[in-house]
């Protein structure tokens, strides 16, 4: 039977920000399949101009309510590259811990609160408070550990306060760190139940081969800075990020689009996994196998599984990092001395949704002359669009209903965990 379909989702729910999906199929033929970002633009790159280096991280954190720690880290890294500052080891460890806290809270928010309702047949996770109180308590407890990690190390989970150019403004007290270590170990138990839950998710069978871009891990699974890597074999230094992203403006959307070797590429947990899976903690690799995740995986719905795998990895790595921080000598420096100087710097950070870049040009007065930020969801836009087109063609061929296609298309975009207002900074 040749179907005619009309799906109009405006705006998509259970994602950060405002994006629309439009699919029209006539007599079995796809007329249009579109992903449109309609978020109001904010012009952060303009606002950053003239700002003092000590303000840049505080302002740019406000680009995103979920990955504000990642924005702050990319911002100070760009400034430190411009000023040629070497961050002390203890501060680097604390920054990575803050980063891990953000990955935990963001991935768990997405998998358990935003994506899970699709697989459980619910409108949201809110009814779980009464329907499955144990599952809700477990999900809240786990997400809470991520937020506590952010609070203890960065001072706050949304819009951090302790990350400063040159290092960290404050060393967390040992008692809080020890208590966190216990909570993270308890979290490992809870994660067993999450793996079981996600194993039961009916992941749609869909795949479209694409290019995956991430940081390149050398000795560790990569989070902050280093070489840029694509699965099509492109490798570049962090400072060449413009050639890795190739942003362009479209007529309709308020978010830009990107491309590299093909018409689109993908960033995020799945891209990191595909490019760096060998560097994962053995327990995370076991979980990947349990969830049926094997590199290279070209099914975007499996990004949910990749997030769970990263949660396991990050929990183990955080426990090890906490031990290092607890053992660091009392006199270990937290802050590097530096003098502002004219120059440019790029900071690349793997935030939950993929690789994020901040790039600043400073004048000699320590104030920003030019700023550029390239956001993970911006890099995913073209890939989401092409996935939607493929999905529409396949569904039109197999025959489906408006409601079923709406659900599947929404789940597809949601699996990217888009951070839309972030992409329209």
């Amino acid at each position: 039977m040749r179907v005619s379909l009309d799906v109009d989702v405006r705006p998509l729910t259970r994602v950060e920000g405002h994006g629309n999906i439009k699919i029209r199929v006539h007599d079995g033929v796809v007329q249009e399949a579109r992903w449109d970002v309609v978020e109001t633009p904010r012009f952060f790159e303009v606002m950053l101009k003239g700002k003092h280096h000590s303000t840049a991280g505080i302002l740019s954190a406000r680009i995103c309510g979920i990955c504000s720690i990642g924005h702050c880290l990319a911002s100070v890294r760009a400034t430190e590259a411009a000023f040629k500052v070497e961050v002390p080891p203890l501060a680097r460890q604390l920054r990575k811990l803050a980063k891990h806290g953000e990955t935990l809270q963001s991935h768990l928010l997405h998998v358990l609160f935003l994506a899970a309702p699709d697989f459980l047949g619910l409108e949201s996770a809110i009814p779980l408070v009464e329907l499955k109180p144990e599952l809700f308590a477990l999900a809240a407890r786990l997400k809470g550990v991520g937020n506590t990690l952010c609070e203890v190390v960065a001072g706050r989970t949304t819009h951090p306060v302790s990350i400063a150019v040159g290092g960290m403004a404050r060393r967390p007290d040992k008692r809080s760190l020890r208590s966190l270590r216990g909570e993270l170990e308890g979290g490992l138990n809870d994660l067993r139940a999450v793996v079981e839950l996600v194993r039961g998710f009916e992941i749609p069978a869909f795949a479209r081969e694409t290019e995956f871009v991430s940081l390149k891990g050398e000795d560790n699974y990569p989070w902050i800075g280093g070489t840029l890597l694509s699965s099509d074999g492109v490798e570049m230094p962090e400072s060449d990020y413009l050639k890795m992203t190739n942003e362009y403006v479209t007529e309709e959307g308020t978010s830009k689009w990107c491309r590299l070797s093909r018409a689109s590429f993908a960033v995020g947990a799945l891209a990191r996994f595909n490019n760096n899976w060998r560097l994962l903690h053995p327990e995370a690799l076991r979980v990947a196998a349990e969830l049926g995740l094997r590199a290279p995986c070209h099914n975007p719905f499996m990004n949910n599984a990749a997030q769970v795998v990263e949660v396991v990895h990050v929990t183990h790595e955080s426990i090890a990092l906490l031990d290092e921080v607890l053992d660091a000598p009392a006199e270990a420096p937290l802050q590097a001395e530096f003098e502002p100087r004219a120059g440019e710097g790029v900071g690349a950070v793997e935030v939950p949704r993929g690789i994020l870049y901040h790039h600043y040009a400073y004048g000699g007065d320590g104030r920003i002359e030019r700023a550029n930020c390239v956001i993970p969801t911006t890099q995913n836009n073209a890939n989401i669009q092409l996935d939607l087109q493929r999905l529409a063609v396949e569904q039109a061929r197999s025959g489906t209903t408006d409601a079923a296609l709406e659900r599947l298309a929404s789940m597809l975009v949601r699996s990217y965990d888009p951070c839309i207002s972030c992409s329209v900074h």
């Binding site: 259970r14 995103c64 960065a154 001072g155």
Partner: protein, 252 residues
């Protein structure tokens, strides 16, 4: 859900987002130790970031973000018509927040710089109260979930909510956080509305004034003090203007 055999009254709440980072609405699903009871104390009929429910039947509309496009003005007005109570959540909704920092630049030029020859519709970012009546303002960047919970408790008890009258300095004293000004940092804690538990000073950062002025804040004396301690006018000015909360006080 009944407690001690009594069915509580749960206000029907909808959450809406405009120009901003959505960090304030995210706080509504943070503070996990009390998240379950919090979600049971209200009935969320619409909350795009967290739910696919599309309820139009709400008593309380929580509005997150500043207003910076014509369609946002229209949407906000429709929400105001439907809601009995409209709450401005966060510094962007209350004061314009960091979103209004762009207002200092030429917007056509800003558009060219970011979007080249394909400019996008935009207008000066303004607080919610510039367009519709606001019944309750909960400032903060982000808001304190603890304070949101306090508001909900007041609603449940039918007792009017009174925001804190003391400045952030009191929060620091309560947490035994040493004075940031004494340590050479610029800090707006002395003139900023308290009740946030001072996360910034406790984390090593002077207060940036995201909650706006405390009642009876003595701006004049604060400026004299900050200058006396060697802070440049430009730095003080930028700090006061960062979240927009001090605009009325500065203009007065």
């Amino acid at each position: 859900m009944r407690y001690l055999g009594i069915e509580p009254v749960r206000p029907k709440v909808a959450v809406f987002d405009f120009t901003g980072c959505e960090g304030c609405e995210l706080q509504l699903v943070n503070k996990e130790d009390t998240l379950g009871p919090f979600l049971q104390s209200i009935e969320i009929v619409r909350f795009r970031e967290a739910s696919s429910a599309q309820g139009e039947d709400y008593e309380v509309a929580i509005v997150d973000g500043a207003i910076s496009r014509a369609d946002e003005v229209e949407r906000l007005k429709r929400i105001r018509e439907r809601a009995k109570v409209l709450v401005a959540l966060g510094s962007c909704a209350c004061f314009g927040g960091v979103a209004r920092l762009k207002n200092a630049y030429d917007l056509a030029e800003a558009n060219r710089e970011v979007y080249g020859d394909k400019p996008k519709e935009t207008q000066a970012a303004r607080p919610v109260k510039d367009f519709v009546a606001v019944d309750l303002a909960i400032p903060g960047c982000p808001v304190s979930k603890e304070e949101v919970e306090r508001v909900v408790r007041h609603v449940a008890l039918g007792v009017p909510f009174q925001s804190t009258v003391y400045p952030v300095c009191v929060d620091c004293k309560q947490r035994f956080v040493g004075c940031l000004m004494e340590r050479g940092h610029l800090c707006l804690g002395a003139i900023t509305r308290g009740g946030c538990e001072a996360p910034c000073p406790a984390g090593g950062l002077g207060c940036w004034g995201c909650r706006g002025p405390a009642p009876e804040a003595n701006l004049k004396e604060f400026l004299a003090l900050a200058r006396e301690r060697g802070f440049a006018d430009r730095e003080i000015d930028e700090r006061l203007g960062f979240f927009g909360g001090f605009e009325e006080l500065r203009c007065a």
